[in-house]
Amino acid sequence: MLLRASGKVTGDAFDVHVITEGGTAAPSGVPHGEMLIAFAEAMVGDDEAILATARQRVLIALGSEALVDAAAVVSNFERMVRIADSTGIPLDDVVYEKTVDVREELHLGRFRSAANTPKA
């Protein structure tokens, strides 16, 4: 969970609940976070109109470079989640140890792929 770690480096205390709760959660504290969350949700979804609206908001507020970067990150993790879930890899030991709190806080153990990390 590198969001919280990145906040520690910059002196920010981000609320990570938006990761699992999306727009219903309290603001994350990440600049333009809610807009970026909406864009990510639209990209993972299949509604072209919702995506067009979310895309336009990012474009107007943050510009074309940020839109490209946001689309690139979403599509990167569309790749990574599939690698993890199709190969049955467990969480790395060091990550497991460092993310105990946030995994409990966000109830990540409810995801089916938690079964791939036997001690989870």
Partner: protein, 246 residues
């Protein structure tokens, strides 16, 4: 072969993304370790077909995808097991199970290495298609397959650990595989594809352009036009939406 282009994209696309996508399409068209170029391009066609597959749609909405029997709407002559792998990984990755993987292996239609090569190509195509979808542009035409035979290369150091598939151990990336990661410094999600080393190379290539290179990964102040925190927010949300524990 027609190259990938972003000349008509609604916004300018970074040159490194364009270059990484072109390299991915070139790899896709060529014979891999276990599949021909034609078979690998067929995998890409199945990724796109899966989004319109009636069986996948029914399974996606079912309480358990394993309760729904049937045949996929297919776009190729790939083995049935390969079709099921491609369609499920594309449309419903969070509900893959070890039992399902073992049933796929038990068909005898795929080896573990063939399975890993499929995953490597499927996720590359999913990712590049997703990028186009995000920008609101048409998907790139698939490349024309190139002739050639698979190398049938299998790294001798790959072993069964805790994952479903054999992987090269953390401290064993040496010899032909010395470039995959600095010995001792990697992650399971990178090692996951190491039974097919070129799949790891492709993963690293695409990740460096889409997200962050391995060299900069631990620098939590590194960013592009988005700050690292903004990138991690997106990464976390996508992973949660896909219900990925990892």
């Amino acid at each position: 072969m027609a190259e990938i282009s972003y000349a008509t994209a609604p916004v300018p696309v970074r040159a490194d993304l364009l270059a990484a996508h072109r390299r991915a399409w070139q790899r896709l068209a060529r014979a891999g370790n276990w599949w021909t170029g034609a078979e690998r391009v067929a995998m890409a066609a199945e990724v796109r077909q899966a989004r319109h597959c009636t069986l996948c749609t029914e399974r996606k909405t079912a309480l358990s995808p394993y309760a729904i029997e049937g045949a996929h709407d297919r776009a190729s002559t790939l083995p049935n097991a390969a079709i099921d792998v491609i369609h499920r990984v594309t449309t419903d990755p969070s509900r893959l199970t070890k039992a399902w993987f073992e049933r796929i292996m038990a068909t005898g239609e795929l080896s573990d290495a063939q399975y890993v090569e499929i995953i490597g190509e499927v996720v590359a195509v999913v990712s590049i298609d997703s990028f186009c979808w995000g920008l609101g542009m048409p998907l790139h035409p698939l490349p024309e397959p190139e002739p050639g035979e698979p190398s049938r290369y299998r790294p001798a150091t790959a072993v069964h650990e805790a994952a479903w598939v054999p992987m090269i151990p953390v401290h064993a990336a040496a010899g032909e595989e010395a470039d995959l990661w600095h010995v001792g410094r990697t992650a399971n999600v990178i090692r996951a594809l190491s039974l097919v080393p070129n799949a790891v190379r492709q993963l690293l290539d695409l990740s460096a352009a889409h997200y962050i290179s391995m060299e900069n990964f631990m620098d939590l102040t590194w960013g592009r036009s988005l700050a690292r925190a903004q990138m991690e927010l997106i990464a976390g949300r996508v992973s949660a939406l896909r219900e990925c524990f990892y």
